[in-house]
């Protein structure tokens, strides 16, 4: 008789254990990516695989999120720290009377193609306000000081339908653009409380400063960063798979989730060309598919297998042999090189405005010739 409960218990735990894996779950999660705030994948022009929507490693995974940023800040004593969501570098909230609340956040994103207007309109939509155009935006913005230079601030009052007036009703957004990055400061919450906290908010923004770099960022190719201003020198990538010489005037840009490394070069009038380095297992669909996808990205018609060989030239770098194509679309020129090493195919895709790519093509070729695989195949 003493065994009955034991046997029953064993059966019960087995049933419970089997059941747990096959249940449909329903829950709410904090947004991982605030979709409109994320620039529309700046990688799309430079990522060799951007033409295949959704394919792993073939689109920018952490869309628009630059490399990790460290900073220091001095929030007012009454601000309470809260859990960081994936997009936030700092997150606070302030509680007012009667349950009123306002939420303060700080995030770093790549500069959005839509610019400030798109972001302001996104914020306006969040508080139930109609979008505005450039002309209407100007009078609504204010320039304030920040460690990242002058920043544009907007103060929007409104409540979206179904919104909770205790937690919403006013949004103050500040955008500071620095190079390719945009620093977003946002305070949104109960209208009266947000208005009260406005001065503290602006003071806090002034206090946010990038931390002095202690060690080089552990991003692929980061070892090459300091060499950007120095004469070309062999610079090993972070994981030691590759070494290369960074061309004079080129800089190592923040890596993305799907890129091994990114280098960029600036031209006149704000023009910029980017070299995206990535590697993927296998042949990623084969040369023809890759070339046609790139051609499609710059508005060129695909070619058939017979037409491909004349378009491809060969380039040697140490013991590696690279294939290279050069294609010009209406607005973008692209020079891409690729090679197989071990089980992977490595892609080096240099793209940007035609004039700048033409001017830098020799450096790109020299860069490819300097690439060495330090790990055996």
């Amino acid at each position: 008789m003493k065994f009955t409960p034991l046997c029953f218990g064993l059966c019960l735990v087995s049933v419970i254990a089997c059941k747990r894996e096959s249940e449909i779950k329903s829950y709410n999660v904090a947004k991982e990516v605030a979709a409109p705030a994320i620039p529309a994948a700046p990688a799309s022009a430079a990522d060799p695989h951007a033409g295949i929507p959704g394919m792993a490693g073939m689109t920018a995974g952490a869309a628009g999120m630059p490399a990790a940023a460290e900073f220091t800040d001095s929030p007012p004593a009454h601000w309470k720290k809260q859990a960081l969501s994936p997009m936030r570098l700092a997150s606070y909230h302030v509680e007012g009377e009667g349950g009123a609340m306002t939420d303060i956040s700080f995030s770093l994103l790549r500069r959005a193609p839509g610019g400030i207007l798109a972001n302001v309109n996104r914020w306006r939509a969040q508080v139930g306000q109609a979008p505005v155009d450039e002309a209407a935006l100007k009078p609504q913005t204010q320039v304030i000081k920040s460690s990242f230079g002058d920043a544009l601030a907007v103060d929007i009052e409104g409540l979206a339908s179904g919104g909770d007036a205790l937690k919403d009703g006013r949004l103050i957004g500040v955008i500071a653009e620095e190079g390719d990055n945009a620093w977003f400061f946002k305070m949104r919450g109960n209208a009266a409380l947000t208005a009260t906290e406005k001065t503290h908010f602006y003071k806090w923004i002034e206090s946010v400063k990038p931390a002095a770099p202690s060690t080089p960022a552990a991003v692929p190719g980061a070892g090459a960063a300091p060499a950007a201003a120095a004469p070309a020198a062999a610079a090993p990538a972070a994981d030691g798979s590759l070494s290369w010489a960074v061309p004079d005037g080129w800089v190592v840009a923040p890596a993305t989730a799907t890129r091994y490394a990114t280098l960029s070069v600036a031209g006149g009038g704000g023009a910029k060309a980017e070299l995206a380095i990535s590697h993927f297992p296998g042949d990623v669909g084969g040369d023809l598919a890759n070339v046609n996808r790139w051609r499609q990205q710059i508005g060129l018609a695909p070619v058939d297998a017979a037409a491909l060989p004349p378009l491809v030239t060969k380039l040697s770098a140490g013991s590696a042999s690279f294939s290279l194509i050069d294609a010009s679309g209406a607005a973008v020129r692209m020079v891409a090189a690729w090679t197989r090493h071990g089980a992977d195919t490595w892609f080096f895709k240099f793209s940007g405005p035609a004039e700048l790519v033409e001017a830098e093509k020799a450096k790109f070729t020299a860069f490819i010739e300097s690439v060495r695989f330090t790990k055996p195949e």
Binding site: M55, A56, A67, A68, L84, P86, A125, G285, G286, N292
Partner: protein, 390 residues
């Protein structure tokens, strides 16, 4: 009745059963080891050790037969045997107290092992520098996340586990204005762009990325170093008019969700590794990966993370490295590896409600053995003293 129960107790408590169980366990371990030639260790674990019976399937798959007891059955039989022996031979005497304690320790370790098998969950948290996460991924299971894209701060998610998808049926949920009909489920597949020489010619789905991609089903990889590209083709049928919106290819090989609209509401579909959400989050501040000079052999990994738990008002910095895991709210975070480009860390997250069982068991067994040997030593010393007394 009492007689029958006593006989049953006698059988269960017999030493013969112990020997049979231990011998069967030996054979099972050998069979499980050999099976890893064709199956990956996780699959072997599931089929041989985390099962009540091992099944042999006729090659065409039309029928299956149980051919050997699985790990759970052997473990449970051993546990019952030990438990029965403990009860039927239990005599409260100081001379036996050590043996009784030792048996109790063994029962705890066996029961703990079974509980670990049934209830423990192992997952991984992949963190890049500066990244914050409040969930871990299960590398062995996937789920179809159907997310409503709302303007608020949070998004409602319906997560349909791959076990449900594998049944290839129609799935609905009270919060969804549509049905998800699984047209095909593939534990592993090769995805290739259309239009290549000798490549696929038929699109896997009518909408989204799948309209440009062909799918070829593959056997799941036996090699643990290769990850299966679990994929499925699903059809969306709105409840309102029952008119299909088309099919979508979803795969863990895709890293972006695919969007669609039903009745003016926006949704996204994504097949991803199953997620376990936490009430707290971890942010990776920095990650160190040292190797022995001139080699690729890892010397030391360590991750500096910030633990933030608003519910319990806890914010602290923690260093996780070999043999120094972070234990928090039932989860244990071990330093497991690093991301291929060295830009982040991989933490193994183990949630095991019976994690303490081996420690408790070892203490009890050690105490039992100490008592038993001490008792015999004292008795021996007494006898010797008596024998040598003048």
């Amino acid at each position: 009745m009492k007689k029958a129960l006593r006989r049953l107790l006698g059988t269960l408590a017999s030493l013969r059963l112990t020997v049979v169980c231990l011998s069967t366990a030996l054979v099972l371990v050998l069979a499980g080891t050999l099976a890893q030639v064709n199956l990956n260790p996780v699959e072997v674990q599931r089929l041989y050790f985390q099962s009540w019976l091992i099944w042999w399937s006729e090659p065409s798959g039309s029928f299956s037969l149980p051919v050997f007891p699985g790990g759970h059955l052997i473990g449970a039989a051993l546990l019952l045997n030990l438990f029965a022996a403990h009860i039927s031979r239990f005599v409260w005497r100081w001379s036996k107290a050590g043996i009784q304690l030792t048996h109790l320790g063994l029962i705890i370790i066996l029961a703990g092992g079974l509980a670990t098998d049934l209830f423990s969950v192992t997952s991984h948290m992949y963190l890049r520098q500066g990244e914050t996460k409040n969930y871990s991924d299960d590398d062995e299971r996937s789920e179809l996340a159907v997310t409503e894209l709302t303007p608020g701060e949070t998004n409602p998610v319906i997560a349909i586990p791959s076990e449900v998808l594998a049944a290839c049926g129609s799935t609905s949920h009270q919060t969804l204005p549509f049905k998800v009909v699984v047209k095909g489920f593939y534990p592993n597949a090769d995805l290739q762009m259309l239009g290549q020489e000798k490549g696929p010619t038929v699109a896997a789905a009518s909408n989204g990325a799948g309209a440009q991609v062909g799918l070829k089903p593959l056997q799941p990889f036996a090699d643990m170093n290769r990850r299966n590209k679990t994929s499925a083709v699903v059809e969306i049928i709105p409840n309102k008019d029952g008119k299909s919106l088309g099919t979508w290819l979803v795969s863990v090989a895709m890293d972006q969700a695919q969007n669609f609209e039903v009745d003016g509401r926006h949704w996204s579909l994504e097949l991803r590794l199953a997620r376990y959400y936490k009430d707290y989050s971890l942010s990776l501040v920095s990650f160190t990966h040292e190797i022995y000079p001139g080699t690729e052999i890892p010397k030391n990994f360590s991750s500096k993370v910030i633990l933030t738990d608003p519910k319990n008002h806890e914010t602290r910095q923690v260093q996780i490295y070999m043999n120094h895991p972070l234990r928090y709210l039932g989860d244990t975070y071990y330093q497991s590896g690093f991301q291929s480009d060295d830009s982040g860390t991989i933490l193994q997250v183990v949630r095991n409600p019976s994690a303490q069982a081996p420690y408790i068991s070892c203490i009890i067994v050690a105490l039992g053995l100490l008592m038993q040997f001490t008792y015999h030593l004292v008795a021996f010393a007494r006898r010797t003293r008596k024998a040598t007394a003048p």
